[in-house]
């Protein structure tokens, strides 16, 4: 089984974002980068499939030189080899999907996994676009995956429940939290990762559909509100939590 996992190198979730003077980038100083958290589920699922059925797991990342750190992390978890598709700065998701699809096609991967979204630009379209370009089936926001021969049975998270879908290989799956428990790399894996190959090539980006005009910070949060001081405030609190904050 030939499995491809697409991963991205993103600012750590705890980063305090500051926008650079050009309004096209964030200030890099003091920002540490991590493997996109949703991609960890994709890698774990790929490794589990490989452990069960054999085959190879190739990790593909589009980005700059530093994206290699993220590729190495995936290699340390157990992936076999990496491919860096070199890009510069902001890349439109659809043109990026084209570059990923090219690489996946040349690799002949029949199972493609990626995170449901990258937590930097949060577009949530790369998996779908890549599937469309490749002519593969596609299951997004996947929380359970079973592959038997060429048959694919997947569960998707939908509002208030789950949807069970069936498709067949080749397929692109976008992973959601809950799909599995990603493993931590073992020291052995970390040491082996440095001996695993990472191929580098220029990304064959497709037509650009959107360009970045400006990055902006969200407006400052509203200050807290005190609804009441005793139990009589509870119904109103519950209503606000449900209808306004939408957390319950």
């Amino acid at each position: 089984m030939n499995i491809a996992v697409c991963v991205s190198h993103v600012p750590d979730t705890t980063t305090k974002i500051r926008i650079a003077a050009d309004k096209q980038n964030i200030e890099q100083q003091g920002v540490s980068y991590i493997l996109n958290p949703y991609d960890e589920f994709a890698i774990e699922e790929a490794l589990k499939l490989k452990e069960k059925n054999g085959g190879e797991v190739v990790v593909i990342s589009a980005g700059g030189e530093t994206s290699k750190e993220t590729i190495r992390k995936a290699l340390a978890m157990g992936a076999d080899r990496g491919v860096l598709l070199k890009t510069n700065g902001f890349v439109d998701s659809i043109s990026l999907a084209k570059a990923l699809a090219e690489e996946i096609k040349s690799n002949g991967s029949e199972i493609v996994l990626m995170g449901k979204q990258s937590i930097d630009y949060d577009n949530s379209i790369t998996a779908q676009a890549a599937a469309e370009i490749l002519g593969y089936g596609c299951v997004t926001v996947c929380v359970d995956l079973k592959i038997d021969g060429t048959k694919v049975i997947a569960e998707r998270e939908i509002e208030g429940g789950r949807e069970v879908v069936e498709t067949s290989l080749p397929v692109v799956i976008s992973a959601q939290k809950g799909l599995n428990n990603p493993r931590y790399p073992a020291i052995k894996g970390i040491m082996e990762a440095k001996r695993k190959p990472i191929a580098e090539k220029d990304a064959a980006l497709g037509k650009v559909h959107t360009v970045l005009s400006e990055l902006k910070l969200p407006s400052a949060k509203n200050p807290g509100r005190i609804i009441g001081t005793d139990s009589s405030a509870v119904p109103e609190l519950v209503r606000l939590l449900r209808e306004e904050a939408k957390v319950i």
Binding site: T15, P185, K188
Partner: protein, 389 residues
């Protein structure tokens, strides 16, 4: 983000792999250990499942070569790992240090090929937890004054006595213990043995109820006509004490690293809290009285880390560390004690409660100026080295 700044102001450059190892253990500590720290502490629960998981990841055989199932790393990596664990939970850091640096390392350094092959794969993978017994009820700093004896009797060693304050006493299947084999010869009459729970006459009792490091198991071992096969002697008869001193020398690096991590954990918590807590209409970190505490903590940690990694690098280069390791252990543990105390001060009344992490640092830190040679003993060693120069 803190990591980045630590990196840039630190003069030893770590390799890419060292950074990945550090980030991995940091990630694990933050996500798996941190949510349970107080639970383990309150219940005095030994987190066996976590140690097993760390074992699967290679963190229970850090210094052991791959041929014996270890990770084949050096003291720099060892220190980085202990530091990261200590930032989150010093008791787990202590357990990992005692397992790796004392028991497992003693077996590796002084075991013969057969002993290494028999014991190291289980220890280095964390399948078996190890303990190391030197201290006794009547001998601590003066370790050579031990009373436990081992007498050769028809092809076996008959051991009688007890050991006190033994980390993993209750949980260890394999232990290395020190006993007198020839009273006349003093220090040169002490030998090291491989023992464990599976031998009759070996028992663990009196789990200590401790001020800090409560998730780390500390118990008494008793030996009543404990019969150990002849082949359980480690190295030569009479070399046990010298072996133990060598093991402790490396152990000092790990306690120094543990101290750096604990101090950094206290500083990180203080930085966060002091930026959030408002008094007199300002966040308390705008007061110079608080800023100076933070500046001192930071400076001390930086200095302690330099000493610690100087010792670790020297050890990895095969240079003597009898001089530098005690300095690192002494300095790092004492600045950590100061840092933990100042952290509680910065948190005010909240620092005195179990709702914030500094209260635990304040309790845990006290072990660091006591275990593996007290501060007084470190000063004795440093002064003795000075006199010999």
């Amino acid at each position: 983000m803190i990591e980045e700044s630590v990196e840039s102001r630190f003069i030893i450059g770590f390799t890419e792999e060292q950074k990945v190892i550090r980030d991995t253990i940091k990630d694990y500590a933050d996500h798996v250990i941190r949510p349970k720290v107080m639970e383990f502490d309150e219940a005095q629960e030994f987190p066996l499942a976590i140690l097993k998981e760390l074992g699967e990841m290679g963190f229970m055989g850090i210094l052991i070569p791959e041929q014996y199932g270890g990770s084949g790393l050096g003291y720099v990596e060892y220190a980085l790992i202990i530091e990261e664990l200590a930032k989150v939970d010093p008791s787990i850091a202590l357990s990992v240090a005692a397992h790796n640096g004392l028991c497992t390392n003693h077996l590796y350094l002084f075991g013969n090929e057969e002993q290494r092959e028999k014991y190291l794969p289980d220890l280095a993978s964390g399948r078996v937890i190890g303990a190391w017994g030197l201290t006794e009820p009547f001998s601590g700093s003066d370790a050579a004054a031990m009373k436990t004896t081992a007498v050769k009797e028809s092809g076996a060693w008959m051991v009688n006595g007890s050991k006190n304050f033994i980390t993993h006493g209750t949980y260890a299947d394999t232990s290395v213990i020190l006993a007198i084999t020839n009273k006349e010869k003093g220090k040169k009459g002490i030998s090291a043995f491989i023992a464990g729970r599976n031998y009759d006459g070996y028992s663990a009792s009196k789990k200590e109820n401790k001020l800090g490091m409560r998730a780390s198991d500390t118990a008494q071992l008793s030996f009543m006509n404990l019969r150990l096969p002849e082949e359980n002697l480690l190295g030569n008869e009479g070399e046990g004490f010298i072996q133990a001193m060598k093991v402790l020398e490396g152990g000092r690096i790990s306690i120094a690293a543990l101290s750096c991590g604990l101090a950094q954990g206290a500083l990180d918590a203080s930085l966060k809290y002091s930026s959030e807590r408002v008094q007199f209409g300002k966040s308390i970190n705008s007061f110079q009285g608080i800023q100076f505490k933070l500046a001192d903590m930071e400076t001390n940690i930086n200095a302690a880390r330099l000493l610690t990694y100087q010792a670790a690098v020297a050890k990895d280069n095969g240079q003597p560390i009898h001089d530098i390791a005690p300095k690192a252990k002494l300095f790092a543990s004492e600045i950590a004690e100061k840092a933990a105390s100042e952290a509680v001060q910065i948190f005010g009344g909240y620092g005195f409660t179990k709702d914030y992490p500094v209260e635990k640092f304040y309790r845990d830190v006290k072990l660091l100026t006591i275990g593996e040679g007290t501060s007084e003993v470190q000063r004795i060693v440093i002064a003795r080295n000075l006199a010999q120069e």
